[in-house]
């Protein structure tokens, strides 16, 4: 028993000294599980997150916008890929993770269960959803598990273009025709609250100590990150000449940050539970891609094995 205890102490020491944990290092089982869960949920979110924006690729209103949107959605596939690989270093196969997603066992970010109804949604997602994700991901660049941190560094480099292109999309709309302005405001209205929900329940909702903070998997609380986000967006929206759909949003001189209204937690929990507008469509789309891709994956493997055999024979 003393040995395990010793291992745990050494492990925590490493973390306290800001040393990264690498795949072959000893780690508490719960640390492995927590990371696996977090990284795979993150990976699933990237991949499912391709769908709402992917919807608009064939309808993008100009060739330039089409190219930007395709490149952006493709980046998200890359993010999913980097993260699945990072999670695999913890001992679970990508195939298993995908199975868990498709069977409904593993979760992804609820934000992607909202529909994309107009072109302006492409701007709002880039600006608000990627913007919210970036705050989280910048923090995760310093997470304690090495492969996760390295994946996040790569991802953050790519993400900076996502938020900018989103904002710029809205900026053009905000200076456009009356119909475009209306489209722009409507998208902001619909995506604002779900974006705030992305940061999760309030810190005060919790009763237990947070192991993730102690292990430095996470470094900021939900409320801290959400406040950073509100402060950032409340300033940027002025440049768009649009408004955020919150009558309680107000600068608080005392705390040097914005006050804002109460999130509709009932909606939040319902979307998490699968009652969001698009939960079923999203998972169905992933199942379809996975199942219809099975024969392709099998064929590639069979071909590789055949060629390998031929090589071994000729080498012998």
């Amino acid at each position: 028993m003393t040995t395990i205890h010793q291992f745990e102490n050494d492990f925590q020491d490493k973390i306290d000294q800001e040393a990264k944990i690498e795949p072959k290092d000893w780690m508490p089982d719960a640390y492995r599980k927590t990371n696996l869960r977090q990284i795979s949920q993150h990976a699933h979110s990237e991949v499912v997150g391709m769908l709402p924006e992917g919807n608009w690729i064939t309808r993008a209103p100009s060739l330039k916008r089409k190219a930007i949107l395709i490149a952006k959605v493709q980046d998200e596939a890359g993010h999913g890929l980097y993260l699945y690989c990072a999670a695999e270093t913890l001992g679970q196969s990508r195939e298993q993770m995908i199975d868990d997603l498709l069977s409904g066992k593993a979760k992804y970010s609820s934000i992607f269960n909202y529909p994309t109804l107009t072109w302006a949604d492409m701007g709002a997602i880039g600006w608000l959803v990627d913007g919210a994700a970036i705050l989280n991901q910048v923090m995760l660049c310093r997470t304690s598990y090495g492969p996760y941190a390295r994946a996040m560094v790569r991802i953050c480099k790519e993400e900076s273009f996502h938020q900018r292109q989103g904002f710029e999309t809205l900026l053009v709309l905000s200076k456009g025709t009356a119909a475009q302005k209306e489209m722009c405001q409507d998208a902001i209205n619909r995506w604002w609250w779900p974006s705030l929900m992305m940061f999760g329940p309030k810190d005060s909702e919790s009763t237990n100590s947070d192991q993730s903070m102690k292990w430095k998997i996470k470094r900021k609380s939900n409320d801290e990150l959400r406040q950073n986000f509100v402060d950032m967006i409340a300033e940027q929206i002025k440049l768009l000449g649009m408004t955020l759909p919150d009558p309680h949003l107000k600068w608080n001189e005392q705390k040097k940050s914005y006050d804002f209204g109460e999130i509709n937690w009932e909606e939040f929990w319902n979307v998490v539970k699968g009652n969001g507008p698009c939960n079923k469509e999203r998972i169905d789309a992933r199942i379809k891609a996975h199942e219809q891709g099975a024969w392709v994956r099998e064929a590639a493997l069979a071909y590789a094995e055949k060629k390998n055999k031929i090589k071994t024979v000729s080498a012998a």
Binding site: R59, L63, A289, E298, A302
Partner: protein, 250 residues
Amino acid sequence: MQQINFILSLADANLILSQRNAEWCGHGPVLEQDIAITNITLDLLGQARNFYQYAASLVNQSGNMPGNIATEDSLAYRRTEREFKNILLCELPKGDWAQTVLRQFFYSVFCKGLYTQLLQGQDAQLSAIAEKSLKEVLYHVRWSGEWVMRLGDGTAESNQRMKQALQFLWPYTGEMFMPAGFENNEIDLASIKKQWLSQVRSILEEATLQLPAGNIFMQSGGKKGIHTEHMGFLLAEMQYLQRMYPDANW
């Protein structure tokens, strides 16, 4: 005008195929290949834009559309089915992975031959676009050719699917080599066809597939704006915002 139509036919073919391939984004058989096909989609879209921009500059110089400035977007989004000059092959539905990679292979091998000739042509702008595009096309040939071999010589199911794709697509290959009247005499479609056939034959052989035998009737019409029924739906989707908000900038 002849030259403009020729350039438009190249732009249209690339755009329409890119539009089709884009349907895979987020739905590919495995993440790595989702990313791969999307790279090709982006290459084709980039090539289309280069051709459209050049065509637009020629249209504007010709003064044929007074008061109406042509742009890449006006050409892509404001023309009708009957004005599009892409070959039919490009507008066919994406089908399964077999159909997608085989079509890409047929098309890319054709572009390889065509761009190689454009490279040596008199039109400096066109040869510059061809030079840049050719690098991308060579990779597309490689990628799609390997997939044709993998699927043809993979499992019984993949072989069967390749056979079906071959049977379906083959009648649309002839149009690539049929002159439409707007090609200038620098382009030798017959020699492109010869090279095309030889490369296609050798890859299909590697893939344990056979070139369809006999005198198969070839579909055509795309270059003249007589399209399949798929085309109207494709354009309706692609052009919807520009049609709905004709006075908007995006």
